[in-house]
């Protein structure tokens, strides 16, 4: 039978499997024994089970696990319960390459037998998820969990789970850790990660320890991508530096350079420029939303990095917190101009005003525009503030290689849009903006339903609809 021959070739099975999802695999393993053998590794390759609980059986009093989720009703209710449900994860632990879960207890169980992991992540799947315990099913459970949790003084469970998991899986490439309860244990986790030679991508959520980033960069210089968010208790001290005396030209010893290509550190802390300075290989940078005083220092840091002939930043995303950017227009323009040799994507969130198009765009070097492929702009919430943003359409007239032009949370006037000469007709593939008349009444334009008068330019573009199209209001377009 040809299907037998085909299934004997793992590359072909995995090619077919690329187009199937987890549900399909659970069906395939029931077809016959041969299919069971072939599809079980595919099923267990990537486990994304957010809610998984094995600990509530230790509590006194009945816990109604089935009330929390119908799936849990059939799962193993204790470590001694063989055969049912999730104990398969013990049997097939070696097949698992990727685990995503929403709390540390699930990870403890799911990852216990795993030795071939390349991806591990703890992340919320819903707003109710809590990162260190499963959701409560009822008040009895809630009481029990708070007592159980109180006994763990130094969050040892979380730290030792992570360290053991990392030590067991030296092939890890991508890790997403929540550090909110790790405190001094953070260092042990980072030391464990340092031994993973293939580690590329790290996401640290809720950092609390002040030295976390420095430790990360010192011990794991091999990583290519670093994203972090800060927990609520972050302290602001970096040893040796003080906020008041920080200067961009400070030559303090900041530590060795790293290979980081993707940088997304969400903090308002003033020490972040020191971290940025250690990333000369950046391809993509998301500057955090910070006050203008820190922003200026960050911008100057990027400009300094750009002086190196190896600088090749391709994507820059920033958030402007200034109520008026008139005073900073030259700095902003210089920031973009410094990346003119390589920049292809620009993403701006303009939280206060609508000045970017009017004030900054004219000062940006034509070299930047000639290379730009993606332009994303997010303004203020336009439902509350009905003033349109002006001069953003200039980008359509300046960029011959533009593929993506997306404007959100603000409006463009119809007259500006319709009178803009497109130079990007050959390359524009995605267009999203909201058009209004001068009164601020608006309708959304998404390709390919664009107004007829602009069709002469747009008709020649290879636009395709990626979202459902809405008809623009014919009244506003003729007016």
């Amino acid at each position: 039978m040809s299907s037998d021959r085909l299934l004997e070739i793992p590359e072909l099975v995995s090619l077919i499997g690329q187009h199937l999802d987890q549900h399909d695999f659970t069906v395939c393993i029931r077809v016959c024994r041969a299919w069971f053998d072939v599809f079980t590794p595919l099923l267990y390759h990537t486990i994304a089970v957010y809610e998984f609980d094995l600990y509530s059986h230790k509590f006194e009093g009945a816990t109604s696990r089935s009330r929390r989720s119908f799936k849990n009703a059939s799962l193993a209710s204790s470590d001694e319960d063989p055969g049912c449900g999730g104990s398969m994860v013990y049997k097939y632990g070696h097949l698992i390459h990727s685990i995503t879960s929403s709390n540390i207890h699930a990870l403890t169980y799911l990852g216990e037998q795993a030795v071939n992991l390349t991806h591990v992540a703890i992340r919320r799947s819903s707003i109710d998820d809590v990162l260190y315990r499963p959701l409560y099913a009822d008040d009895t459970e809630k009481l029990n969990w708070s007592q159980y949790w109180a006994e763990i003084q130094d969050r040892e469970l979380i730290i030792s789970t992570w360290v053991a998991l990392i030590d067991r899986n030296p092939g890890l490439k991508s890790v997403r850790v929540d550090l909110s309860h790790c405190c001094s244990g953070t260092e042990r986790i980072i030391h464990a990660l340092a031994k993973c030679e293939h580690l590329e991508d790290v996401y640290l959520s809720s950092m609390v320890e002040p030295n976390t980033l420095e430790m990360m960069l010192d011990h794991c210089p091999q990583i290519l991508s670093l994203s972090t968010t800060c927990g609520t208790q972050t302290t602001t001290k970096v040893p040796g530096f003080r906020h008041q005396t920080f200067r961009a030209e400070s030559k303090g010893n900041v530590g060795a350079s790293t290979k980081i290509r993707h940088f997304d550190i969400r903090t308002h802390e003033p020490w972040i420029p020191y971290v940025l300075r250690r990333c000369p290989d950046l391809l993509s940078l998301i500057l955090p939303s910070v006050g203008m005083d820190i922003f200026i220092v960050l911008a100057q840091e990027v400009i300094t990095l750009s002086l190196s002939k190896f600088f090749r930043l391709r994507s820059l995303e920033l958030t402007l917190q200034a109520s008026s950017i008139q005073t900073h227009k030259i700095l902003l323009a210089t920031l973009f101009n410094s990346c003119s040799a390589s920049l292809t994507a620009m993403t701006i969130t303009d939280t206060f005003g609508h000045d970017f198009g009017k004030v900054v765009i004219p000062h940006i070097d034509p070299l930047v525009w000639s290379r730009l492929e993606e332009f994303h702009y997010t303004g203020r919430d336009f439902d509350k503030h009905k003033t349109p943003s002006y001069h953003l359409c200039r980008v359509l007239a300046l960029c011959p290689n533009l593929r993506v032009f997306e404007i959100s949370m603000t409006m463009i006037t119809a007259s500006e849009f319709l009178t803009t000469p497109f130079v990007c007709s050959q390359t524009l593939a995605s267009l999203k903006l909201t058009v209004c008349n001068t009164n601020g009444d608006h309708g959304t334009v998404r390709a390919p339903n664009y107004p007829a008068t602009a069709a002469t330019s747009l008709a020649r573009t290879p636009l395709y609809a990626t979202t459902t199209t809405t008809q623009p209001d014919p009244v506003l377009l003729s007016g």
Binding site: S3, V31, K71
Partner: protein, 159 residues
């Protein structure tokens, strides 16, 4: 410049070099052999299957060479089989598997992709019994075993 391909059941097929070179295996063979006119034996491919493969390569002779796209999510691509390819793949499932095996042996990646997507589309959304019917597979599980497997592994579906 025609090339002669010989199937496992000794049938000759004359095709243009450009068409034959959609198969990376054949392309490499031709480069090694140089200017020789000798026919290329394909012991793993029967005449019936080779006919279909040649039909595909003829239709796609002018396609640009595919660059492997690692950034795409393969799952999203399952539905976008072009119409000609879909009609081309409407064969009995025995032939479908033979085409995939031939595309694998001959190293014709686009044909391999289309074949695997087609098989995936057949599998998607079916119950085990429907899959067995589609592929003429004998069930060697007892009903109890099948229920046990379902119970033990259902949790692994994405939540």
């Amino acid at each position: 410049m025609p090339v002669i391909l010989v199937s496992s059941d000794n049938q000759d097929f004359k095709v243009d070099k450009e068409v034959a070179e959609r198969s990376i295996l054949i392309k490499n063979m031709l480069e090694d052999v140089g200017e020789s006119d000798s026919p290329i034996p394909l012991p793993n491919v029967t005449a019936a299957v080779l006919t279909k493969v040649i039909e595909y390569c003829e239709h796609h002779r002018n396609d640009p060479v595919q660059v492997p796209e690692e950034t795409d999510d393969p799952r999203k691509r399952s539905n976008d089989i072009e119409e000609w390819d879909m009609k081309f793949m409407q064969v009995d499932q025995e032939m479908l598997f033979e085409i995939i095996l031939a595309a694998n042996y001959l190293d014709i990646k686009p044909l391999l992709d289309v074949g695997c997507k087609t098989v995936a589309n057949i599998i998607k959304g079916k119950t085990p019994e429907e899959i067995r019917k589609a592929f003429n597979i004998v069930n060697d599980f007892t009903p109890e075993e099948e229920a046990q497997i379902k119970k033990e592994n259902e949790w692994a579906e994405d939540r």
